[in-house]
């Protein structure tokens, strides 16, 4: 139905896509996988005619015999929303914050002249019901900020399918969502394909998601499709080296052996953290929200402990409390027996460092790498051999001492995360908190960083608290794992034991919802290193 032939794209001097060819049949789910910058999203934008300014596409994209690349902007406007629907990665920002969800869904119908206002509202209602947002809880008058991420993504789907387009392009539709929410959205997309005979082009970096729902898959690298086939065959044969590399990376197991001592390094005892909510009346009592509710656990020396849970479960609050960045309202946290509080001594702080998720936002862009890495020295006074120590830290994380004089923008995401790790290492800490530290990285880079973390743990006698929503990563790097829900630890135990035999229903739900590549597909082909 949609047939892309030899699609090439350049923006200015840069070539983005080379000879991209694929076709999608009605009722088919076509997966396009690849790492960031491989050209997946650009392919989608070329199909939608929404390329950034200066983008020149050549080749052919035909939708039922009509070449989209030769249509005028007016004709494309008519096609978008009517024949081609698209949803995006970030549901939190994909909706206009100042318009009701009803208006936004109805707008698709109104701009295409399909329905007048009142009728459009009725159809919007019906479409919102279709995506699981029922009238009693989600009247048309709701605003986006009153909805969760998953609910917003459902609104995006509703407005994209309002006119029953022939093809829906979904660009990383579940990447920003929790696993259980992700499972719901994927199920909805599959239902729509089945019931409405719509084709679905699913763009994702997640091989497991593709394995779960795509009929056919194309693998993209540096603007080219290197391999495409039916999903099962592609996963089983993995003909192209890049496919094998991606596959290996996404199931990569860092080699590490537990050298856990029996002495607790960090002890958390009945920690409680309350947040004040806005007062309901002017002189009324301030209502409290308990983000962390009597949580107790230990991290032993040399141990790698996982903390998993969905957004809003309190894991970030707990992390900040452990770092001494938030006061506790009850219980205590100690490191080596010393109390941790917001006013703790610099010496104590130096023993504990953190690596955050976003390798782009966590550095001051105007500081050199040397200055960024040397920042924790203010805790302990700048040593005379600071420069040597920085050089050593850079070498330890796989960069070179020359990188010291560069600025953050000169590095890729993975390299920046290495810089963040170097900054954490500089104070010779005993505990490093990794707060979604590899979540923003591509699979191959993620595998490398996980290896690095495993190596550093062995060479520096480090303990890790590995906070993540990504169960598969936690499973590969931790000795023990805790599952957190609504401010409480609902289950904890040896990682493998918890994953293989989850006791709490919530853990079971989480594990069941996490997409996975079927076991029997993973054998067969020779994996690249």
């Amino acid at each position: 139905m949609i047939d892309t032939r030899n699609l090439s794209l350049s923006i200015g001097e840069t070539e983005i896509l080379h000879d991209v060819s694929f076709s999608i049949a009605p009722g088919e789910v076509f997966g396009l996988v690849g790492e960031s910058g491989s050209g997946k999203s650009m392919t989608a934008l070329a199909m939608m005619g929404l390329l950034p300014s200066g983008g020149i596409a050549t080749g052919q994209i035909s939708l039922e015999g009509e070449d989209l690349l030769h249509l005028s902007e007016t004709q494309m406007c008519d096609l978008r929303g009517r024949q081609l629907g698209m949803i995006f990665q970030e549901p939190m920002t994909a909706l206009n914050p100042v318009q009701t969800i009803g208006d936004q869904v109805a707008e698709t119908l109104i701009v295409h002249g399909v329905a007048q206002r009142s009728e459009a509202k009725e159809i919007a209602r019906e479409r919102l019901n279709r995506v699981g947002l029922t009238e009693d809880r989600f009247p048309l008058s709701r605003y986006p900020h009153e909805l969760s991420g998953g609910q917003r993504q459902r609104v995006c789907i509703a407005l994209a399918i309002a006119l029953r387009p022939k093809i829906l392009i979904a660009d990383e539709p579940t990447t920003a969502l929790d696993v259980t929410t992700q499972a719901g959205i994927l199920e909805l997309l599959l239902e729509l394909v089945r019931d409405e005979g719509m084709a679905l082009m699913l763009i994702t970096h997640d091989l497991a998601v593709t394995a779960q729902i795509a009929d056919r898959v194309a693998v993209m690298e540096k603007g080219r499709i290197v391999e495409q086939n039916t999903t099962r065959t592609l996963f089983e044969t993995r003909k192209h080296a890049y496919t094998r590399a991606l596959f290996a990376a996404s199931t990569h197991q860092p080699s590490r052996e537990a050298r856990v001592e029996d002495t607790p390094l960090l002890s958390v005892t009945k920690a409680v953290r309350d947040y004040r909510l806005p007062r309901r009346t002017v002189f009324g009592k301030t209502p409290l929200f308990r983000a962390v509710n009597e949580v107790s656990f230990d991290i032993r020396r040399g141990e790698s402990l996982g903390l998993v849970g969905e957004s809003g479960c309190g894991k970030s609050t707990l992390t900040r409390a452990i770092l001494g960045l938030e006061p506790l309202q009850g219980g205590r946290i100690t490191l080596n027996g010393d109390d941790i509080s917001t006013g703790m001594t610099p010496d104590l702080r130096a023993k504990m460092q953190v690596v955050f998720q976003d390798p782009y936002g966590s550095f001051n862009p105007r500081h050199t790498v040397a200055r960024i890495i040397a920042e924790p020295f203010h805790l302990m006074g700048r040593p005379v051999d600071a420069e040597d120590q920085i050089a050593r830290a850079l070498t330890e994380v796989g960069l070179t001492p020359d990188d010291m004089r560069k600025y953050p923008h000169e590095f890729s995401g993975g390299q920046r995360q290495r810089i963040a790790i170097a900054r954490a290492l500089i104070t010779r800490p005993e505990l490093i908190l990794l707060d979604e530290a590899v979540s923003a990285l591509d699979v191959r880079v993620r595998a490398q960083v996980l290896d690095l973390l495993a190596d550093l743990q062995a060479s520096h006698d480090l303990s890790y608290l590995f906070v993540s929503h990504d169960l598969s990563v936690v499973r590969r790097i931790t000795d023990r794992v805790m599952v957190m829900k609504s401010g409480e630890i609902v289950e904890s135990g040896e990682t493998e034991a918890v994953f293989q035999n989850p006791q709490h229903t919530y853990t079971q739900t989480l594990i069941a919802a996490a997409p996975a590549i079927p076991e029997d597909w993973t054998h067969g082909a020779q994996d690249a290193g």
């Binding site: 406007c77 978008r80 081609l84 920002t93 994909a94 909706l95 206009n96 707008e107 698709t108 994209a160």
Partner: protein, 315 residues
């Protein structure tokens, strides 16, 4: 929404109360004896004593404060020492010039700035945008009194379309009043419009980069429809902020333009009152300006909430 309005209204009243106390303290208590300040250094002690009596300065401070504030509520602002007329009359006369002038200038600048800013944003980086941005740069850089004299030279002296200054009063007819205020309004509006056009442009550009704009385009809206239906309302919030600030400024900050055009406005009144040590007038005019500014800010807050549903719940 009701809760939002109530909290805002409460904070408005508290701000006014706090301001009245500060103004009272600064004018009546801190600099020593009001009467001797008003009469100057060489005043006869008898004259000072008489003035103290006249002003009721012999009463304790809190009584004087309460008298003043209750006077404000009933419209009794006291008597001007230099003009020998009730302050309320003075202010009312001047307000009939300053308020229409401020509204006129603000309306002009808004009607110019918003479309111009939008046009510049949608053509960002192109010649139109560069041209508009250059002009607004000039509009900000040129001092408004100089521009005012330039306007007088062309439109009043050479072309004789407008009077070169003065204000006939609204009794002479609405049209005459508007004509008299046109050149001053333009002189004031140019700078304000330049600032607002730049803010509109950057706010719109930022909005146009948002994800929901992409969603709107994917629905099939044209670039133009996207700007009108989705970008404009979201870009309005920073523009409203500027609008509020500008109105406050225009109400009292037009002293120089009022001088160029010989307009009997509030700016000139307060300037004269200060030079003549007429503290009774100063106190009341400053209070009035605080009231105007706080009220405008309240209205801006209400406008925010009308534009952005996310603010309605927050207080």
């Amino acid at each position: 929404m009701t809760r939002f309005l109530l909290t805002r209204l409460t904070s408005l009243i508290l701000t006014l109360l706090a301001a009245s106390v500060v103004i009272f303290l600064v004018v009546e208590v801190v600099p020593g004896d009001v009467a001797s300040v008003m009469l100057g250094l060489n005043a006869e002690p008898e004259a000072v004593a008489a003035l103290r009596e006249e002003l009721g300065l012999n009463a304790p401070a809190h009584v004087r404060y309460l008298t003043w504030v209750s006077g404000l509520f009933t419209g009794d602002f006291g008597q001007s020492h230099t003009y020998r007329v009730p302050v309320s009359e003075l202010i009312a006369d001047r307000l009939w010039v300053s308020l229409p002038l401020a509204i006129y200038a603000l309306a002009l600048s808004t009607f110019i700035a918003i479309p111009v800013g939008l046009i510049a944003a949608t053509r960002a980086g192109k010649a139109t945008d560069t041209g508009i941005m250059g002009l607004t740069q000039l509009g900000i850089a040129v001092p408004n009194f100089w521009f005012a004299m330039f306007l007088v030279l062309i439109f009043a002296i050479n072309l004789r379309w407008f009077p070169s200054g003065g204000f006939p009063g609204w009794d002479e007819g609405l049209w005459q009043g508007i004509i008299a205020l046109t050149l001053p309004a333009i002189a004031l509006a140019v700078q304000q419009a330049s600032i607002m056009a730049r803010v509109t442009r950057s706010a719109t550009l930022e909005t146009l980069g948002q994800d929901y704009i992409r969603t709107a385009r994917a629905k099939g809206l044209s670039q133009r429809q996207t700007v009108i239906r989705h970008a404009m309302r979201n870009a309005l919030i920073p523009v409203l902020t500027i609008l509020g600030l500008q109105f406050s400024f225009l109400l009292a900050g037009a002293i120089i333009i009022e001088n160029v055009f010989f307009l009997p406005g509030l700016g000139r009144l307060i300037f004269q009152a200060i030079t003549q040590n007429d503290l009774i007038v100063v106190k009341s005019v400053v209070m009035l300006l605080v009231f105007a500014i706080v009220t405008v800010n309240f209205l801006v807050d209400v406008a925010y909430a009308a534009v952005d549903p996310r603010l309605r719940r927050r207080a």
